[in-house]
């Protein structure tokens, strides 16, 4: 979706504010971080579903709230969507039925973190492109989750890496299904993306691009 999260190339935000040096200036942010990771380990949703939940915040709210408020919005949304809690319970701050679950416990944490969640997966499809190919990207504006930012759509660049196949996020967010898609890193010249008056010929942008985002070799 063309949400407020898709920030690449937006103007008007002013200088970078480097003043905040602790991760959790407020205790509630620390709590949201912990709750989000702990709930994520329940396995009720995947990474792409949880990103999509954050992206659906009202754009004005997204841009005026802090990072962990995005996470909080996403977590509450997913808990309700999955039927783990309901809105009345969020309001009440306590369970309103007798259902109880088994959480991930302290001793399981380290090994879950260490294992991580690799998204590479074997694909039976041969890669359609190879390093050195110049390709153009599709121009699509789906209402669902996508990892193809607006500022790149329709543009052309050169493939510099092929990472094998990874889980395709668009489908993964929509249905939870794990479909493999070949993943490439593509180099785009800044001139191609922003125009020659607005950028320097020397500069370029490297982006990881899933094969379904590529229109054709050119």
């Amino acid at each position: 979706m063309n949400g407020a999260h898709d920030l690449g190339g937006m103007d008007g935000f002013g200088p970078i504010d480097q003043s905040q040096t602790t991760h959790f200036p407020e205790q509630w942010e620390r709590t949201v971080f912990g709750l989000t990771l702990a709930c994520g380990m329940l396995g009720k949703w995947n990474l792409d579903i949880s990103r999509f939940a954050r992206e659906q915040m009202d754009p004005g709210h997204y841009l005026t709230s802090t990072y962990y408020e995005h996470w909080l919005h996403g977590l509450e949304t997913l808990l309700v969507q999955q039927g783990l809690v309901d809105k009345e319970e969020l309001e009440a701050g306590k369970p309103l039925d007798d259902t109880r679950y088994t959480p991930v416990n302290k001793d399981q944490v380290a090994s879950i973190l260490e294992k991580g969640g690799p998204v590479s997966m074997e694909s039976e499809k041969k890669a359609l492109y190879k390093v050195g190919d110049t390709v153009s990207l599709i121009n699509r504006h789906p209402s669902g989750h996508t990892r193809l930012p607006r500022y790149l759509r329709g543009h052309s660049g050169e493939i510099i890496f092929h990472h094998g196949s990874h889980i395709f996020p668009d489908t993964h967010a929509q249905s939870g299904q794990k479909e493999p898609a070949h993943l490439y890193t593509i180099a785009f010249s800044a001139h191609e993306i922003w125009g020659e008056f607005e950028s320097k010929a020397e500069d370029s942008i490297m982006v990881d691009v899933f094969e379904p985002y590529i229109a054709q070799r050119i």
Binding site: H5, G8, G9, M10, D11, F13, I16, D17, Q20, T21, H23, W28, T31, G34, L35, L37, A38, C39, M41, L47, R51, Y67, L72, L79, L84, V85, E91, G93, K94, P95, R100, Y101, T102, P103, K106, Q108, V109, E114, K115, G116, G117, V119, S120, P149, Y151, H163, P169, L183, T185, I193, W194, K200, E202, D203, S204, I205, M206, V207, D208, F210
Partner: protein
Amino acid sequence: MSKDHTHHHHDAPVSEIESRVRRLEQLLVEKGLVDPEAMDELVDTYENRVGPRNGAAVVARAWSDPEYKHRLLTDATSAIMEMGYAGRQGEHMQVIENTPQVHNMVVCTLCSCYPWPVLGLPPTWYKASSYRARAVKEPRAVLKDFGLELDPSVQIKVWDSTAEVRYLVLPMRPEGTDDLDREALAALVERDAMIGVAQVSAP
């Protein structure tokens, strides 16, 4: 930390969002969805144990050991895992090398993708609108905000982390550090240099 789960900020008035988060936490704990001790363990891991010192050790070793550097640049995930840094948000690593001709910097325009096992949690500015919006469009102006003015002839490559590959910048080793051992070298390497918004200075 467990004591904080029931009593936060005794003195300050409770903001709307604080009270919303407190209700959520109580609900999830009572429902059995979250174990408070597991939560503390998670927070403690990323707040206190995993951080940019990991990345600095990787960089210092690459500066000191050409064979390791070669492996790091060709298969970063396993070269980093070999140092004991692996897992969540670092499953697929790529290391990119700064040279006198090419300066690399990393951003995630769509959210906040960042290599946790080697750098810990991203700084606030990395997650904020201004950096995410501007890094890809006006990288030189952004670097100036960080006090770094590169020669116009230096090529800038901005890496936008749109998939699960996580990028770590291998900064240039500063001149005059030939005598330093890995530990002393690592002490020179700050987080920002490994994101690509700073360079490493000699001591």
